[in-house]
Symmetry: C2
Subunit: 316 residues, 2 copies
DNA sequence: CTCAAATAGGACAGAATACGTCCTAATTAT
DNA sequence: ATAATTAGGACGTATTCTGTCCTATTTGAG
């Protein structure tokens, strides 16, 4: 037994590895007649692995999606990439996926050839991916409805508690999810506030998928919105600070905040709002380049106070 | 055709999903006689998928590692976890694995059932994993020898350029790799300096695997060493700063750096070394709590200069 | 339009395979 | 010792597999 079984699986592997192959090529590789290749194609279909074909010149066979994922054949390099990916995914700390991750790891661990396992073991034991630690695991019951909502572009009702505020029900059109600095966030259109908002998933106390659909804006960029909503958050005072440096230096000192700087003749303009000039002054004082405060005067005062504080410390 | 093929693949799937199953159980699930199950076990062996068995009471069959990875059957949940993992791995920006990641993604994309693909598409399109951006891709030619060295505990010779210094050859026993804040690092024992050191992979200009072996210290923790080596790095000057705050507040302002603070009667002692009082003064000036500089006097001067700089800006 | 190169699938004969049954043998744990 | 498991050869019967042969259809290039 097993001659045909081996050859059918070999066919599957060939088609997985190549976008498309001709019947002649497949017959040569499998050591059978083209008529048999056609039978094997039928066999794959019977296995629930549909194959699409093109007739005529440059015709050939290609795998297409079926109702079920077929057996997957991975090369060693691909398997190691998967190992690394699972290692990284584990750090994302999503409750839903941790079980699945362990399951995949167990499956792979069980059957890996010794050499590959040794390498994968070296990856798992000796490579660490440090992501900012998440205090709390992002609760598993939120992700599935969120993914549904994202996929189907349907609104959700959430019970959400902003920082130091009582929980409020809101209707939101979720546009995207984001993992950043150890936390998961959802960006979307908030019907309560009538504008784009970003929500921390660990503050989500309840979520319910609605029937109502929405249209996500074309080319909505979750990370971009997140950055601007975080640093463009409403505050009492408009702030304008001119940084006398170049974009590269700014990025090194400020990380992603630099993405919101606007190039001007005199340098890079930081335009934002703040509730606390004191906090902003502190943040500004660590910048390793010159800057000028354009607005507001309160910020100049705060920076002066900061300078005085530091002077006192230096003279102790 | 395909009856046996289907059943052999079903057997493989069953064994992948369960640690072990008896022949009786397998026969029932496959709808065949136990004698046939034994033939299918042989078929798997002929496919290069070895199976180990236990005779006697509670006997059964188990998959073991062969010379080649067998066809893998993943559930939908597992596939989505893999998708998320690949998304995260992509952000790690290792040149070697990017090709393999794309390859795996293409393979999965090609055959995923529509529902699963839609969900995976939603993940890829709407979930962003923001890791600190890496300026430069970590060069591909370093990883393979490094993984070899880690796996086989063999020394390497590296040509390495510390910050603003000429490249130097060093012999290193690599203990681990670390991805943190957008960069890849290697921790290991440096024979040139006769102590543990941490190296940035993007500053690695050359690497060569040696025949010489080493013994990695038991329970070596890459991340732990990294943290202490980064903040305990040798410098010209001993630094002691007393922070007049509590541990929790310190952690909020300083992140992981807080782990190296020592509690004292007057507050928390930061004890480190630095080459640049100017940089440290800048860093200190953002702290939102009071502190006192104990050592060195140069740091007090630097802080004074920082205060003067800020005062100038505030008075413009 | 013709031709070449591809896919498609039915039919046939002969070879090969698959299966359950029956049997003997060996290994474990109770 | 017994029960419950794995092991594998042999047999007869039914089924499957294969290459060959053939006709049919689809593409792209000249």
């Amino acid at each position: 037994m097993s001659g045909p079984t081996i050859r059918v699986l070999s066919l599957l592997e060939l088609l997985q590895s190549h976008g498309r192959l001709s019947g002649t090529e497949l017959a040569a590789r499998l050591g059978v007649d083209k008529r048999t290749v056609r039978r094997y194609i039928q066999a794959l279909e019977q296995l629930g692995i549909p194959v699409t074909t093109e007739q005529g010149c440059d015709g050939g066979y290609m795998l297409v999606a079926g109702f079920k994922l077929p057996p997957m054949m991975f090369t060693n390099d691909e398997t190691l990439a998967l190992s690394l990916g699972l290692l990284a995914a584990h750090n994302l700390n999503l409750a839903d996926t941790q079980v699945a991750i362990s399951s995949v790891q167990a499956k792979l661990e069980r059957v890996m050839p010794a050499k590959l396992k040794s390498r994968a073991r070296a990856i798992a034991d000796n490579i660490k991916v440090i992501l900012p630690a998440s205090d709390t695991e992002t609760s598993g019951q939120h992700l599935a409805p969120l993914l549904d909502a994202l996929e189907q572009q349907r609104s959700v009702t959430i019970r959400y508690a902003s920082y130091q505020q009582a929980p409020v029900f809101r209707q939101v059109d979720p546009y995207g999810l984001l993992f950043r600095s150890g936390r998961w966030y959802m960006s979307g259109y908030c019907h309560l506030r009538q504008e784009l908002r970003t929500f921390r998933l660990d503050r989500l106390q309840q979520i319910e998928l609605l029937q109502q659909c929405f249209n996500r804006p074309a080319n909505f960029d979750t990370a971009e919105h997140f950055t601007s909503s975080l640093y463009g958050m409403p505050g009492n005072l408009d702030v304008q600070v001119m940084l006398h440096t170049d974009k590269h230096t700014a990025a090194q000192a400020m990380g992603e905040t630099a993405s919101m700087l606007k190039p001007q003749a005199e340098g890079l303009l930081l335009s934002t709002r703040t509730d606390s000039c004191y906090c902003l002054a502190q943040w500004l004082s660590q910048l390793p380049f010159d800057f000028s405060i354009i607005e507001p005067p309160e910020l100049k005062l705060a920076l002066k106070q900061q300078a005085e504080r530091l002077m006192n410390i230096a003279q102790r």
